[in-house]
Symmetry: C2
Subunit: 391 residues, 2 copies
């Protein structure tokens, strides 16, 4: 096991109706003037924003509202949020929504107390201080509610760049599975896929695979698969929603990634797809993962056999473990299809003729110089080969 530091200080308030105490949580963590930052109209229509407002009002905490966060959250709204916070002397950001609203909130939180352009933080300048952030989560997917990560897309060139620092970990996150029951099936499935991807990104390591962490990852994979099937069949299955929501948080607060290098090649390959086609991140990952795993599995056949046996219920082929490894990847794809995810370029409305462009921007975009490092080093020709496996 590699040496590591781990700290996950976010206070999780989990369960039915918990959003009605969000005002108390803001007070507990020192907020006296709040920006409520959210995305879709559905948060307004469902009455969630009203419940959040009522809870803040009950505690006598003034707030300003800023909606309109898009999927793949944009820099323009971050700039607007920073300006608004400064003008209104906001000292606490409350994200209401999924990964996009939370990531946008984190970027604002880092930008308000920074003299320069917040985008600097996405280009390598470390964040030294930030306003505290709290969240009310409405979709189990990105894991941003328990992580220090934020990914923003800059409209100038549509650059999509991440930034990671402990300072941005939410002070608290309200996780009420009920809020996810009304999500469309497609979004639910995209979330499940994203969670599985966060787990695979940590399973594929160039460090020695360590049993404790492998087993925790497998535990969360099994949960998401079993409960994912249930929730697709019955969207109002509270227990299934609760299992998936908590698994989604643990999949990305990095308890699954300690003491090892991590992959993140799947995410890199996918970002090019959602960048070019504006497809859902989860849908892109559903197409990327099986293809990439088939390409890389020869690097550690026994690891892919391990997940095939322990998670996907395959029988071990002791004579030809590569058959078991491959069967596990095929079962992953079957599962993703079962929950309604696309399985190839065609179903994603992606074009074979774009592959050279995708491979090139992957390896040379965003300041990269020809290689994307992770479980394997992906160069332009390797990327082309992997994208071709998605046809």
């Amino acid at each position: 096991m590699d040496n590591f530091m781990f700290c996950s200080p976010t206070y999780f308030s989990f369960g039915k109706g918990m959003e009605n105490s969000v005002g108390e949580l803001v007070k507990k963590f020192g907020g006296s003037k709040v920006l409520v930052h959210y995305g879709s109209k559905s948060a307004e229509k469902s009455g969630l924003i009203d419940r959040v407002k009522a809870s803040l009002e009950k505690e006598g905490i003034p707030y300003v509202l800023l909606g309109g966060v898009q999927p793949n959250p944009r820099s323009s709204l971050v700039y607007k949020g920073i300006e608004l916070c400064r003008k209104e002397n906001v000292d606490f950001i409350l994200a209401v929504g999924g990964g996009s609203a939370i990531d946008s909130s984190k970027a604002i939180a880092g930008g308000v107390l920074y003299d320069g352009d917040f985008w600097d933080h996405h280009c390598g300048v470390p964040i030294e201080k930030a306003l505290p952030v709290g969240t009310v989560l409405t979709i189990a997917a990105a894991g941003s509610e328990g992580s220090g990560n934020t990914v923003i897309t800059h409209e100038n060139g549509m650059l999509k760049r991440g930034c990671r620092t402990e300072i941005l970990r939410p002070k608290f996150s309200v996780l009420n599975p009920e809020l996810t029951c009304t999500l469309p099936a497609y979004q639910t499935a995209c979330g499940i896929t994203d969670i599985l991807a966060h787990l695979y990104e940590r399973y594929l390591t160039n460090s020695k695979n360590v049993e404790v962490t492998d087993r925790i990852i497998e535990a969360l994979m099994l949960t998401v698969i079993n409960q994912g099937k249930k929730v697709i069949n019955d969207p109002f299955d509270y227990e299934a929603r609760a299992n998936i929501m908590w698994a989604g948080t643990l999949a990305h607060n990095n308890v699954c990634g300690v003491g090892r290098t991590q992959d993140w090649n799947s995410h890199a390959l996918e970002h090019e797809l959602s960048g070019l086609y504006d497809c859902a991140h989860g849908a892109g990952l559903a197409v990327v993962m099986p293809a990439m795993f088939k390409y890389v599995m020869e690097k550690n056949v026994m690891l892919f056999a391990q997940v095939a046996v322990r998670v996907w219920g395959c029988n071990m082929d002791f004579e030809h473990p590569e058959n078991t490894a491959l069967e596990g990847i095929e079962k992953l794809q079957e599962f993703l299809c079962y929950i309604g995810m696309p399985k190839n370029f065609k179903e994603l409305d992606a074009k074979e003729s774009d592959i050279p462009y995708l491979a090139h921007t992957l390896c040379y975009g965003n300041g990269r110089t020809g290689t994307v490092s992770g479980y394997i080093d992906i160069t332009e020709d390797v990327a082309e080969k992997i994208y071709k496996l998605m046809l």
Copy 2:
């Protein structure tokens, strides 16, 4: 899943040589004058205390030393520690050792800033403030390095009482598996047993069993069992030590106990044994668990069958699941014997004739009024029956 709050803010510094940076950690968490509190002479002899002192000196942090913590830590040393901290204006407690040194440190931390008798905190008076505590762990067992719990034995009547509050969670814990490699095999096995017990205490719940938490518990059980066998055969197997140490922390920081009631009957039954016979806590648990599980398994045969199949590798007997459940309990006992733990009263030097006394003090000692609540309600006659299963 029951509603829950979860927050595990302890900063874990894990790996080889990490104790050499303990001075930086104390500084990071605001300590300017430290009480280094430890137990056995082995921490001095091994050079660990010297390395800790050197690291504090490097950061220019003054300290005072207080050794001598015993297993089942006593109130007299807590009083001494409180007095010393006040006299020396200590503002940070650094525990170096296992659960006993850490629990003693936590009790001191709560007592220094309290006007009354620290024992009040173990009799229900909530702790409102405490000095910050850090730890350098030397045995994987109690999980106190990541929990808000402390258990102290008061010499006046030898009352053993716990106290639990978020305020007592360590600010940081240094987990270097190397420090555990020189532990005697018996202590190592006691630690492994304690970790398994912390997992079973959370597995046996009167709430609905939730897949995500069941699976995480099972992941940690499998790890501790597989790596436990390795470490008994090769005490210097660093990877095995690392797996067990991290599993031990996660087994008790309560990520395995969220959203459900917990049992703790095994611990209650055991405390009477170590109270009367001064046996090691882990050894007592090894005798208690199989007996108690046999007694309670009919309450939820399928849960005991689940752990038998998923963790102990039993085949499911679909016609008679109780056979599978029982086989799992027998495999637990076989494992505990394999690592060198006692399996009955005789091997623990406990006496059948003491059973009425044990059952009575269990149910009426420590302010109890006839019942110990947990997975089942244990009354005096039930306790006698369970203790008899240990003969």
